[in-house]
Symmetry: C4
Subunit: 171 residues, 4 copies
Amino acid sequence: MLDVDGVLTDNAVYVGAVGGERVEFKRFDIQDGLGLALLAGTDIRVAIISGRTSEATALRAAELRIDDVIQDPGARKLPALTALLEKHRLDWDQVAFVGDDLADLPVLTRVGLPIAVANAVPEVKAVAAYVTEAAGGFGAVREVISAVLRARDEYEAAVGRYLAARDGDDA
Amino acid sequence: MLDVDGVLTDNAVYVGAVGGERVEFKRFDIQDGLGLALLAGTDIRVAIISGRTSEATALRAAELRIDDVIQDPGARKLPALTALLEKHRLDWDQVAFVGDDLADLPVLTRVGLPIAVANAVPEVKAVAAYVTEAAGGFGAVREVISAVLRARDEYEAAVGRYLAARDGDDA
Amino acid sequence: MLDVDGVLTDNAVYVGAVGGERVEFKRFDIQDGLGLALLAGTDIRVAIISGRTSEATALRAAELRIDDVIQDPGARKLPALTALLEKHRLDWDQVAFVGDDLADLPVLTRVGLPIAVANAVPEVKAVAAYVTEAAGGFGAVREVISAVLRARDEYEAAVGRYLAARDGDDA
Amino acid sequence: MLDVDGVLTDNAVYVGAVGGERVEFKRFDIQDGLGLALLAGTDIRVAIISGRTSEATALRAAELRIDDVIQDPGARKLPALTALLEKHRLDWDQVAFVGDDLADLPVLTRVGLPIAVANAVPEVKAVAAYVTEAAGGFGAVREVISAVLRARDEYEAAVGRYLAARDGDDA
């Protein structure tokens, strides 16, 4: 499970008006996207949950083929994720969560593998089992995915599958 | 009271034309936004004042539920803020102001708590009682809010209220 | 005289399509804008010249009330600036030019005060009399303006005029 | 041959919705653009290949007058580049490729001159003959072009042609 702002993005929102309509852009990292592609073929599912509602998040999630996308405008992440776990019949200790700010604390203190990005606030780092070297939006998610796959001894196989699907021999 | 450009943003404006119309985007920090949410339930009011007029500023201020938003195209901040204080029956020594550039000097030299961001010009840092470690648009406002709440011994309570509203027990 | 890309901007162009139409944004620095405002009331004129044609440049120049704006899609800056000097009856040795790349060399080797930004290519730094500490788009132009005004012993007066126009006593 | 994301860009995509339509921006470096202009008059051809499909890439490639532009949504770069080489009757050992991520590995291990940008993943740096000092989107392509031209002893001539076309004597 991934927080969005500050984890999949550089923790910023680019706001302006186009034709009188509010528009916001978010900055997503391309190497994070390839990391998520490495999970294809594993039994790891990905969910993202944001404490804001943003079309930018929905659009990027669709491109990345994220399994579950939750956006709660009140940053009430715990009830939403509790429902998600029930739907997939999963327990909290089967979950890794990557977060950066106070709104992630109620979830981070329940999951089996709480992870903080380099740019997380002190309270989040204090409860994390792992703090990434990379900042959110600059490869933090890729770092987490690689570390998890290596810990499960699945990294080489995942890279192999990714490359085999792209070498063109069976194009 | 918060200046906008260089305090709530990275001190840049992203300018372009869409359909023949001028459009500008500004980059706001998400952790600053959570900091402003921490002020809910305290008796601290927030005003932002900009020396430029920008729809981006108005849109972000609306999202953050800022109490007072002043945009003066001539960067004449002192008359605008004097009127604001009169409206709220406040004195200058009850005000903290966060600024970065020369246009903030007339206000910074009057308020009780003048604050400069890390990226402020030397003249602004020279009159500041506090200079943030974080740069504008990269958590400077969050740093100020946390420091003020801690100085008032209200930080733990504010975080507690924020989390209680999001743990879902009363959803 | 100021180059645009890499001098007034962070040397990038943000490109995308909106409604099937090409759109580009450029990132301009707000503290540079205040620096240009400090020149009001001095006898220093400002011209910007770009080797690309961009609506973003024209829009920002209009906001900054730049005296002369030249955009040449072939990056042929020398003929354009020669004509500009003739129009204003100025000599090359009365001109300071701030540049960053090879296209600026024909001009930099003619002006009285050639200036390179911190992010300039080696060839440009080699012919510069002054290399800024700040990078383009991050205060390089502000640094140049402050340095020029100080060298002319006009800095304090310029700041005084700027603040006097904003203290509201004569509003 | 140049990868796009992370090589010609800062490895990010800026995503938002305008009028209900998905829009993405990419950040390209202007000094890279001048580097590509230096290749005019040499016998070096340039191709760019992306593992994503983006109008931003197509628009920037058109501006830079790139000879061949390939965008494959499945990141299957090897078959596409094999066809390109056949079209131009070139061998792999006549090709330099600049990449940053796993999707570039099948190509990097075949070309004569494999190059990794500073921000490349370890697997890509491991197979590269040259790793740039500059990061993608911050001059990495300019660095490669200058290094290649110098290695061929063509750099001074290329700069000379570039400047001669812009000094205005034959305007």
